[in-house]
């Protein structure tokens, strides 16, 4: 709880925290918001676009009106606000689940490698090195585009988590190596604690700080990567909305309907920025060494 | 002749800590002044203040070196003085030498900062200095990097670097602290020789009364940023006036004295 108090005492971190909280609220309350606004992320509104102009939204700024608060998509006239809030749901969910997966994998494998050493460490360490030197973006694209099916949300989580765990694992391994040689672990060992008990009760609790830091700092990366993959057409597929995919469909319209790429773009930018600020703040709060930086 | 006079020196850090508070020091040409005290007594801060190397700190009082008021000098003039007329060596020579440059380069660099000299000439000076501080095979060792030297050899390099410009004053801040006992003795012997040959005045900063006894003429005992006792080494050692000084002296185990059950701690005395 002291961490949260420390965070809130910094103005930028407090603001970022508020933005993140707001976004989570937006995502969770997406059905409620669309109900209030009277729109749906998938309904077409042919009347809101002008077929005479190639399907441009009627009205200024991408067709912003009382009915469509953030305008509509060109051609098919889907409500942008509804797609943005449902997109937030998709983005945050994928990023958080990918983080959970990479933290679980990274902690487990890093812990085993660092604590036991020997050949286990060699195998896991080399695997991490290999994955870290992989050109992961292009591999993710190849992997996802090769996979069957159209609902790629689960696949995205798995792929992001798979390429992300070595970042967690590397840190956990280092910490576990230090802790395994630490005096209190030696003391517990002398007292006759089993290896499992040592790991779970002595080493694991001491890893929460660093793991929390990597986890917070990796969320914006996952959000950005998911959006990037969706932008390239290998991520979340329509009709499920995603910010990256919205920006991709906005590319041909950037000159005539700039609001269409600006709205999801600003949401994406603000989200990633807020998480980055928060990540920095969490690191500063938990790692005294980095404070002077 | 008086070389360095410090009057009413006070150093206050931006954090509000007053590290030095009304300190007076006097050092004559060619003499050795020992400044002793436990860690945190303000002795290292004093040496950095003399060189104008303190950051985030408010320095007041007078620091007069060879007739010049150092606190009144601009950055340029102060820089010309550093290394050239006042040189400094520190404890932990490994971290004080840059790992990316050869030892000769780092010595030559000091020389070239104050002399118009080509690379080759400065390198020759560096090799000569390495020879003088007792590095074997100086020509070959000159091209080595700090990590290839032992602790004692590194401190010799630091001394070579400090003395290549023949300064009037050498400030030695805990020069022997991180070293083995035999190496400590060698370094002290080296400082003693240099002082006799070149007539360099030395301000010797240490917590170790034994080191002071071996080298210094005068001694100042510092405690919490103030000088609590001063005088010729012989007097201070044989007739310490202050309980704090007696405490410091009692912390030095004597080879010829009775073995105490345990070394006294300063907290128990002051």
């Amino acid at each position: 709880m002291t961490v949260i108090r420390k965070l809130v005492s910094q103005r930028s971190a407090a603001l970022a925290f508020a933005v993140v909280a707001g976004l989570v609220l937006l995502a969770v309350a997406a059905p409620l918001i669309t109900w209030i606004a009277g729109s749906s992320p998938t309904a077409f509104h042919g009347d809101a676009v002008d077929p005479g102009l190639g399907g441009l939204p009627r009205g200024a700024a991408g067709g912003i009106s009382a009915r469509h608060w953030l305008g509509v998509e060109p051609v098919n006239g889907r409500d942008v606000l509804a797609r943005v809030v449902y997109g937030a749901q998709v983005s945050l969910l994928i990023a958080v689940l990918a983080t959970v997966l990479s933290v679980l994998l990274g902690t487990a494998l890093g812990l085993v490698a660092g604590f036991f050493g020997g050949w286990v460490d060699t195998v896991i360490g080399r695997t991490m090195d290999l994955l870290l030197s992989f050109p992961s973006l292009i591999f993710m694209i190849a992997l996802i585009s090769a996979a069957p099916g159209t609902d790629r949300r689960l696949l995205l989580v798995v792929v992001l988590g798979f390429f992300g765990w070595p970042y967690v694992g590397r840190i956990v391994r280092g910490q576990a190596m230090v802790l395994a040689r630490g005096e209190f672990v030696a003391a517990a060992r002398v007292l006759g604690a089993s290896r499992r008990a040592l790991l779970v009760r002595e080493v694991l609790p001491n890893l929460t700080g660093p793991v929390l830091v990597v986890a917070t700092m990796s969320i914006p990366g996952y959000i950005a990567t998911e959006a990037g993959l969706s932008f390239l057409g290998v991520g979340v597929q329509a009709p499920t909305p995603s910010w990256g995919q919205m920006i991709a469909t906005a590319v041909p319209w950037y000159a005539s309907d700039p609001a269409y790429f600006l709205i999801p773009g600003v949401f994406l930018f603000v989200t990633v920025l807020a998480f980055n600020v928060l990540g920095d703040a969490v690191r500063d709060a938990l790692d005294p060494r980095s404070q002077r930086r | 002749m008086t070389l360095l006079t410090v009057r009413d020196l006070a150093v206050e850090f931006r954090s509000g800590v007053r590290a030095v508070d009304g300190l007076d020091l006097d050092l004559d040409t060619g003499r050795v002044l020992g400044v002793v005290g436990e860690s945190g007594s303000g002795k290292s801060v004093t040496s950095l203040a003399v060189l104008g190397l303190l950051r985030d700190a408010q320095v007041s009082g007078e620091i007069r070196f060879d007739g010049q008021e150092l606190t009144a000098l601009d950055r340029r003039a102060l820089r010309r003085l550093r290394g050239n007329r006042i040189a400094m060596i520190f404890q932990d020579p490994l971290s004080c030498l840059n790992p990316y440059y050869s030892v000769a380069f780092q010595i030559a660099e000091a020389y070239r900062a104050h002399h118009r000299a080509g690379r080759k000439q400065a390198h020759r000076v560096a090799v000569r200095m390495l020879d003088r501080v007792g590095i074997p095979e100086p020509e070959r060792r000159a091209r080595c990097y700090p990590h290839e030297f032992s602790g004692g050899m590194r401190q010799r390099v630091m001394i070579a670097m400090a003395l290549c410009l023949e300064p009037d004053l050498l400030i030695a801040d805990e020069p022997t602290t991180a070293l083995d006992v035999t190496v400590q003795a060698q370094i002290l012997q080296l400082l003693r020789e240099l002082r006799e040959e070149a007539g360099t005045a030395i301000m010797l900063i240490t917590h170790d009364m034994g080191v002071v006894a071996g080298l210094a003429d005068q001694v100042v005992v510092m405690h919490q940023g103030r000088a609590v006792e001063r005088g010729p080494v012989r007097d201070v050692f044989h007739r310490p006036q202050e309980p704090y000084t007696r405490g410091l002296l009692a912390c030095v185990p004597r080879i010829d004295g009775p073995l105490p059950d345990r070394l006294p701690t300063l907290g128990a005395i002051t």
Binding site: I138, A224 | R80, G83
Partner: protein, 330 residues
């Protein structure tokens, strides 16, 4: 040193082999039949059987992988007799879409990717490192806070968003630049530079942010070192102290990330090239993905991976030259 070099080369070769195998394996997970892809939509079953034989799809996956590797190392021949198609070294197969050799497609796309990567790298190194150094020297000042806020913003900007905003502002609104289109440097240097400005700025905004943050952190670390104090005590001018004793050590980690970043970009700036429609390796990859052109996807993946792995090797070697402590160990 030679031993070290050989060991690093062996490791690099091993990683490339693993990447090769992994890529190949991914394509075996692919449900689509490569023969179907090669033949197109309207295709008779006989023709498909024929293609299967030519491409060697009847063999076991392992022997197909062997054939693929042989092709890369020494070229290979598809089919037999009068239908035989020779694919010279280094053979990455033929595109399903254009029937061109994949290797040729890749090399023809390299100049554009190089132009984008190198230009952006120069820009972000200059801006990022300079901003980081100044921030570290004036740590806590207004400049520092402004620069670090800007850097965090740059880090958080999605590339395609930056690209669209720039394009909208500079091309549509202000009419300062033509629509990006690669002109060869040799015949039309002005057109070339004009077409590159936006991709450079787009990439540089992201990377300059990262580099400014890293440089600042490293500089603060090295400025606090005892050898910097020694350098000042020697009476070196402050500029020499900063450049020689603080910046030089701080640049070491930057060399590492720079090698990796540049390597990754040389293998194709996927998003940037797609948005600006520049015919680089990244655009080739994006197009191949949308048309499910398997040999091209496989080829690009390997190609880009090789750049990253080779950059890694190069970084290690440069590091060994720059850091006397590593040099001694090797």
């Amino acid at each position: 040193m030679i031993l070290y070099l050989l060991r690093r080369l062996a490791v690099t070769a091993a990683i490339l082999l693993v990447i090769c195998a992994a890529t190949f394996a991914i394509f075996y997970l692919m449900p689509a039949d490569p023969a179907q892809g090669a033949c197109g939509k309207a295709c008779s079953p006989e023709r498909i059987t024929e293609i299967r034989t030519t491409l060697g799809l009847n063999h076991s996956p392992l022997s197909q992988f062997g054939d693929y590797l042989t092709g890369i190392v020494s070229g290979r021949t598809y089919g037999t007799g009068e239908h035989a198609v020779n694919c010279p070294f280094p053979c990455l197969g033929f595109s399903f879409q254009t029937n061109q050799p994949v290797w040729q497609m890749l090399t023809s796309r390299l100049p554009a990717s190089f132009s984008i990567a190198v230009g952006a790298a120069v820009l972000w190194l200059a801006v990022g490192v300079a901003a980081g150094v100044v921030s570290a020297l004036r740590c806590g000042s207004l400049w520092d806070r402004a620069a670090m806020t800007a850097a965090l913003g740059g880090v958080s900007l999605p590339i395609y968003f930056t690209a669209l905003v720039l394009q909208y502002l500079l091309v549509v609104q202000l009419d300062l630049l033509p629509y990006p289109q690669v002109e060869p440097l040799t015949t039309d240097p002005v057109g070339w530079a004009q077409s590159m400005v936006m991709p450079w700025i787009t990439l540089a905004m992201l990377y300059a942010g990262i580099y400014a943050r890293v440089t600042r952190g490293e500089m603060l670390e090295s400025l606090g070192q005892n050898y910097v104090r020694t350098a000042r005590a020697k009476g070196l001018p402050e500029i020499t102290v900063v450049r020689r004793h603080a910046l030089r050590p701080a640049l070491m980690p930057i060399v590492t990330i720079f090698g990796m970043d540049l390597g990754a970009l040389l293998g194709g700036a996927l998003i940037t090239e797609s948005v600006f429609g520049l015919p680089g390796v990244g655009k080739l990859a994006a197009d191949a993905i949308s048309s499910a052109d398997q040999p091209v996807i496989l080829g690009v993946t390997l190609f880009a991976a090789s750049f990253v792995v080779l950059a890694n090797l190069l970084v290690d070697l440069v590091y060994a030259v720059l850091d006397p402590r590593v040099r001694a160990v090797g």
